[in-house]
């Protein structure tokens, strides 16, 4: 029997109850939200369960929502069940003042660089990560550039006229 979204949802609710919220299926991809304390337990359950079998972490990244007070940073996990070719995604939210999320490196080696990248751009502090340092940006960088309060443009430039780039003061 093919693994459908309904079965996955049923299985997860059976195990975690009402902790998982905000169930959606945009473009047929099952998506839900979990408390950040549960992220490793959910990953482990999705990995271990015979029926679920989500054993490939395709992607891991963060999103910054400045308007969601108290849960500004959202860490998103994309998982793939290779046997049934089913993908799901779940999100955990965390306060930007204490952006601590448990690291998935003990379960997935592939999370190592993806968590470093997420730390690099959003400053999510992955607890238990073996080597949480910048991976793409210069080491001297003293901020997290993809947080919304920082403009994307280079602030050290001196020779570029804002009006020529379509963002002048009209």
């Amino acid at each position: 029997m093919a693994l459908t979204n309904d079965i996955i949802r049923e299985k997860l609710t059976e195990k975690f109850g009402d902790a998982l919220t905000d169930w959606q299926e945009p473009y047929g991809m099952l998506t839900f939200t979990a408390p950040k304390e549960l992220n490793l337990k959910i990953l482990q359950h999705l990995y271990d369960d015979e029926t679920l079998g989500f054993r490939f972490l395709t992607d891991l990244q963060a999103v910054h929502f400045p308007d969601r007070k108290g849960e500004e940073l959202c860490v998103v996990y994309h998982l793939h069940n290779m046997r049934d070719n089913v993908r799901i995604r779940f999100k955990v939210y965390t306060d930007i003042q204490s952006p601590d999320v448990f690291s998935a490196t003990s379960l997935y080696q592939t999370a190592n660089w993806m968590e470093r990248e997420t730390y690099d751009f959003f400053g999510v502090n992955f607890i238990g990560h073996p080597n949480l340092i910048r991976v793409l940006n210069v080491d001297e960088m003293d901020y997290f550039p993809l947080r919304k309060e920082y403009p994307v443009e280079d602030q050290t430039r001196i020779d570029k006229d804002d009006e020529m780039f379509g963002r002048g003061t009209y």
Binding site: N137, V138, V152, E153, D154, R157, D159, K160
Partner: protein, 187 residues
């Protein structure tokens, strides 16, 4: 009977520098001889990071043929090359690498910034991109374009040849040159 196809019938020779000539000898200005040799045997070092590098490949290949200007030999070791051709977006993380490559080149050395990104950061007005390589190394010729056509790269190359031709033998020992390098924190 003449052959139906003629090859190489438009070969251009470099002029002989002004001087006093007799049977079996010639006396001329040493600087002129050196610059004649230098400008027609520039070894370029391509530092290609993106699309401008593709244009350079076309420039190097048979159709546009950079070899016509005495640059048949494209070197991939900075220690052997005279001209650093920086083609493409240079990320801030690449900046120190580029500077290291420049430092490894022996004097006299020239630098050409090919394309908008190498010259000014181009469209990438971003926290991660170097806003022009002249922030880390001195540049002799800027080639505009996004990317520039091979003709433009050749034009820039000929400008380099002009600079090499006109450069005095003592320029690299001058105080101005030392100050220029000091401005980039070199030596």
């Amino acid at each position: 009977m003449s052959r139906p196809v003629q090859f190489n019938n438009t070969v251009k020779f470099q002029g002989i520098p002004e001087g006093y000539m007799g049977e079996g000898f010639m006396a001329t200005n040493f600087e002129k001889v050196v610059s004649l040799a230098r400008k027609n045997s520039i070894w370029p070092l391509p530092f290609a990071t993106s699309c401008c590098g593709i244009e350079f490949m076309a420039t190097m290949a048979s159709h546009y043929d950079l070899a016509r200007f005495g640059s048949e030999r494209v070197g991939f070791s900075p220690r052997q090359c005279d001209l650093l051709m920086v083609m493409g977006t240079i990320a801030k993380k690449m900046g120190p690498v580029l500077k290291q490559v420049y430092l490894q080149m022996a004097e006299p050395r020239w630098v050409m910034a090919v394309g908008a990104c190498a010259s000014s950061g181009g469209i990438f007005d971003s926290y991660s991109v170097l806003q022009g390589i002249d922030q880390v190394i001195p540049v002799d010729v800027y080639v505009p374009g996004c990317p520039p056509r091979p003709e433009a790269i050749l034009d820039g190359f000929m400008k380099i040849q002009e600079l090499v031709d006109k450069e005095g033998l003592r320029r690299r020992n001058s105080d101005q040159y030392r100050d220029l390098l000091a401005g980039y924190g070199i030596q």
